[in-house]
């Protein structure tokens, strides 16, 4: 184990996979000399050269589509989309091509493409630059959606993504790039998709999160223990498609209460999917309706206080738990 920051774990994963398999190459806006807008590719241009670490014009649809094409021709491209906000102009390629070609072709072709993108608000970047669209991508059959919360998982999941024969949307929370954690040194350490991690165990409530919201759940669990004498299971979904509902259900059947936490808007969001599945599979075990703690239903404001109010917080999680007792 080595302690490292999330961005370094992500870089290590890409580096190891490039060393391991020469079909892997990277492309994206400013991933070369600039080192990536979140510094995830720093140093890789020097190590692998401009053919395999390819700077691109600002053409999200073009470069994602190019990734699809190269994948069809036997390569394993990683396309970095600077932030998830700009994935919106590449949706045609992601949704109409990457996610569907295997199915539509009757299984003749497959698209081993890794799309990395940074997500999340909290940096006063305003409404166009603060989206959390993980749930939107999870909506599409054919995509795998990975949302790591810890550096060790980020490395194992990203390496696993490069081995996947289908398109993977790998979403990194901007607030976590500097977060530190233990990362396995073993270059063969992979984290399997569809396996949630119980990062903390308790008996009074199940807190479910992914990516940044896992940390809010974790801090809320601390507060519940210290201030209210309550203990919580904290479940880190790690991938939201495939979704490990079994772990969630097992926990809820024990704790009889659940709060689902995410940054994305509550209305039509992914937390609603989890809440519905809990209702379908653990209704008789519930002592209270499943609660959702999520983003407020507004475009993200620029003002710091307003932005803070629009995002979910650990206090909101604690409050939701207390209101179900």
């Amino acid at each position: 184990m080595t302690e490292m920051r999330m961005r370094d774990a992500i870089r290590e994963a890409m580096r190891e996979e490039m060393l391991r398999d020469d079909r892997v190459f990277l492309m994206g806006e400013d991933i070369g000399a600039y080192g990536g807008s979140y510094a995830c590719t720093r140093g890789l241009l020097d190590e692998f050269g401009p053919e395999r670490v390819r700077d691109t014009p600002i053409s999200e649809s073009g470069i994602v589509g190019a990734g699809v094409g190269a994948a069809l021709a036997g390569f394993i491209p990683m396309v970095e989309i600077m932030t998830i906000n700009f994935s919106l102009v590449a949706l045609d390629q992601i949704v109409n091509n990457a996610s569907k070609l295997h199915y539509m072709s009757g299984g003749q072709v497959n698209v081993p493409l890794v799309l990395r993108m940074a997500s999340g608000g909290g940096s006063q970047l305003g409404a166009t630059h603060s989206h959390s669209l993980e749930g939107m991508f999870a909506h599409f059959p054919g995509l795998t959606v990975v949302c790591p919360a810890f550096p060790g998982d980020a490395k194992g999941l990203l390496k696993r993504s490069f081995r996947e024969p289908n398109p993977v949307v790998f979403i990194e929370h901007t607030a976590l790039y500097g977060a530190r954690g233990e990362v396995p040194d073993d270059p063969d350490h992979l984290v399997e998709f569809g396996q949630a991690a119980t990062v903390r165990s308790g008996k009074d409530v199940t807190l479910v999160g992914y990516s940044g919201s896992v940390h809010q759940c974790y801090r809320a669990a601390d507060m519940l223990a210290e201030e209210h004498g309550l203990t919580a299971d904290v479940i880190d979904l790690r991938t939201i498609r495939p979704l490990d509902m079994s772990s969630v259900i097992r926990s809820v059947r024990r704790t009889n209460r659940a709060v689902v936490v995410e940054d994305d808007w509550k209305f039509g969001g992914f937390a609603g999917e989890i809440a519905a599945q809990i209702m379908e599979r653990a209704f008789d075990w519930l002592d209270a309706p499943v609660a959702r703690v999520a983003g407020k239903d507004v475009p993200m404001p620029y003002n710091r206080n307003l932005e803070y109010a629009a995002l979910p917080s650990e206090e909101d999680v604690v409050e939701a738990v207390l209101s179900m007792l």
Binding site: A70, A73, S105
Partner: protein, 337 residues
């Protein structure tokens, strides 16, 4: 709407007699196949959107015959003609249109999404210009693997208005990719004349991306073939992409649902006078390559093939409901890869 004067191109290798026979056969096969599709659509055997290719046969046959087997093709939704010209079995195309297990895509794709990987036919794409970035990726793959195969990307004049067209041409140009862009300018994007929707001629727009760009007569199969040969030689030598605008015309409506309110019957008749099949037939008769009886025999042969395709499609079963979830994702086989 006027198609304007074709710019004469330099000619590559003139097609020999045998190749001309093949062009005639393939254009006829496409023509009769498409006419049969229209009939099958009215009989309810083919459902969904059906975009037919009659009138444009010279484009598919000329361009695709210039390819090598290892070159890769992506095209738009008006794709039966391209698949047939690439040698995809008519039986399997028809079965796909009938949505049967024996279809190219096992009944998952339909008319607009024909795939046949064994022929390097990497798909019909139904989002206008959505396949153009994919062609960039194919070209990139060819370059990264140091192989000299090329990608042929076929699309309509309507695609030129899409952002993906411009992103794709720019990327192919700056990375010097072996992509031949082939625009089938049939005069209309659905019912809108192309000169009402574009600020400049298609081949001039493409030329702004610093690649050779020619406008050719897309109703002359020999010219299409020569122009595509030249284009392929150019891209294979590492000179970057090449653009061809082929002026052509579709005889039928945009799709089977089109009431054709935007053009006159007289206009269609005018273009039928320049029919690519008739034109090749005349010149082959003049050159003594065929005569009327051999031509009629060829038509009969093609019709028999098309009937056989219908019989094959009809006999092929529908996919079982238990296969609904097949092929959503390819199975991960662990640590082999």
């Amino acid at each position: 709407m006027s198609v304007g004067q074709a710019i004469p191109t330099m000619v590559g290798e003139p097609p020999d007699d045998e190749l001309q026979q093949r062009f005639l056969y393939e254009m006829l096969l496409i023509r009769r196949f498409e006419e049969k599709c229209a009939e099958m659509y009215t009989r309810g055997k083919i459902r969904g959107f059906l975009h037919l290719y009659t009138g444009e046969e010279a484009c598919a046959v000329g361009a695709i015959n210039a390819l090598r087997d290892d070159d890769k093709i992506v095209t738009h939704y008006r794709d039966h003609g391209h698949a047939l010209a690439r040698g995809v079995e008519p039986n399997r195309i028809m079965a796909e249109l009938f949505a049967r297990v024996g279809g190219t895509n096992e009944g998952r794709g339909g008319s607009m999404h024909i795939f046949d990987v064994s022929k390097n036919f990497l798909g019909g794409y139904a989002i206008v210009a959505g396949h153009m970035p994919i062609a960039v990726g194919l070209g990139l793959a060819a370059n990264l693997s140091d192989e000299d195969w090329a990608a042929l990307c076929i699309f309509g004049d309507g695609g030129v208005g899409e952002g993906e067209f411009h992103e794709a041409l720019n990327l192919a140009a700056i990375w010097k990719l072996p992509v031949v862009w082939f625009c089938e300018n049939n005069g209309y994007g659905m019912g809108v004349p192309f000169d009402d929707s574009l600020a400049n001629d298609v081949y001039k727009i493409a030329a702004a991306y610093q690649m050779p760009s020619v406008r050719i007569d897309g109703m002359d199969v020999l010219e299409v073939y020569s122009a595509t040969q030249l284009a392929l030689a150019h891209v294979r030598e590492g000179n970057g992409p090449y653009f061809i605008e082929a002026l052509t015309y579709r005889y039928r409506g945009h799709s089977m649902a089109d009431p054709e309110l935007y053009r006159t019957k007289a206009e269609v008749e005018e273009y039928r006078k320049r029919d690519a099949i008739e034109r090749l037939k005349r010149s082959m008769i003049a050159d003594g390559l065929i005569d009327e009886p051999t031509y009629q025999a060829l038509v009969a042969q093609v019709d028999a093939e098309v009937d056989e395709a219908v019989a094959f499609a009809d006999a092929s079963p529908e996919p079982g409901l238990h296969t609904l979830y097949d092929h959503i994702t390819k199975e991960y086989e662990g640590e082999s890869g």
